[in-house]
Symmetry: C2
Subunit: 149 residues, 2 copies
C-alpha cells in the first residue's frame, strides 16, 4: 500500500492559493540555484535580456517594463553596474535620462543564465511528464489574465 504523499492528490484542506504558492516557490528555488553561478537574480536577468534584445533604455523605461518602482531601479542598476553587467550613459537627446546598456560581459551572462533558467524550467516541468510546457504557460496566462498590479 503506497502513501499518497507523492504524485497523488494534496490534502483537501490545502487551499488552492497555497498549492500555487508552493509550486511557485519550488520553481523559484530551482531558478535561484540555476542563477547562483552567474550572480544575478531573476529580475536582473530579465533586465539584461530586455536590454540585449533592443536598444538601450532609460532607467524609467526599464523600470516600467519590468514593473518595478523607479526608486528600486536605482539600486538595481547600481548593483548591475558594480558587477559590470551594464553601463549608465547620459542620453544625448534628453539629459534627464540615464541610458542603461549592457556590457559585453552582461550580454554573455544574460545568454548563459537564460540557458540555465530554461533548463531549470525543464526540470520543474519534468515532475509532470504528461504536461505540455506551452499548454501550461497558456493556462497560467489565462488564469492570471485579470491580474492588475
Amino acid at each position: 500500500m503506497a502513501t499518497d504523499d507523492d504524485s497523488g492528490s494534496p490534502p483537501p484542506a490545502f487551499r488552492l492559493h497555497y498549492l500555487l504558492k508552493r509550486a511557485h516557490l519550488h520553481l523559484a528555488t530551482l531558478v535561484g540555484q540555476a542563477l547562483e553561478p552567474y550572480g544575478v537574480d531573476p529580475r536582473e536577468l530579465a533586465a539584461l535580456v530586455l536590454l540585449t534584445r533592443g536598444d538601450a533604455l532609460s532607467q524609467q523605461d526599464l523600470a516600467r517594463q519590468l514593473q518595478v518602482d523607479r526608486t528600486t531601479m536605482v539600486a538595481m542598476v547600481d548593483r548591475m553596474e558594480a558587477l559590470e553587467l551594464v553601463r549608465r550613459r547620459p542620453d544625448p537627446a534628453d539629459r534627464r535620462k540615464n541610458l542603461v546598456e549592457p556590457t559585453d560581459h552582461g550580454r554573455r551572462i544574460g545568454a548563459d543564465a537564460t540557458r540555465a533558467v530554461d533548463s531549470a524550467e525543464q526540470r520543474f516541468l519534468a515532475a509532470a511528464p504528461e504536461l505540455s510546457g506551452p499548454a501550461f504557460r497558456d493556462l497560467l496566462w489565462t488564469l492570471g489574465r485579470d491580474f492588475r498590479h
Copy 2:
C-alpha cells in the same frame, strides 16, 4: 483580426516563474477581496479552520502545522484574540503551553470565510472553463512536491 493578449499565449519572453507568480497573485487578490468582509487574512483563516477541525492546539503546534515561526505566531494569536476569534488558555497538562481555541464567533467566521474563499477559487478557475479544479490541484501538488522550506 483579434489581439492575442487575452486567452491566447503569453509573450515568449515571459518566464515561467513570472507566469506562475502572476496567477498566484491574481488568486491571492481574489481571495483577499473575498476575505475582506471577515477581517482575516488567509493564514488566520487556515488557523481558524485547523482549530475548529480538532482539539485546541498549543501556539507551537499551530505554528508548526501552518509553517510559521513561533515568534510570528505570538503576533498572529494576539491579533486573533483581539478580534475575539480565538482564546488563549493555559494547558492544564503542561503549564508552559498556551492552548489556543476558537470562540463561537471564530468558528462562525471560519465557516463563512471558507465559503467565500471557495467561491473565489471557483471564479479564479472559471477563466479556464475546460480546466478541472481537482486535476489542477493534483498538478500543482506534483509540481511542488520537492519543495522544502
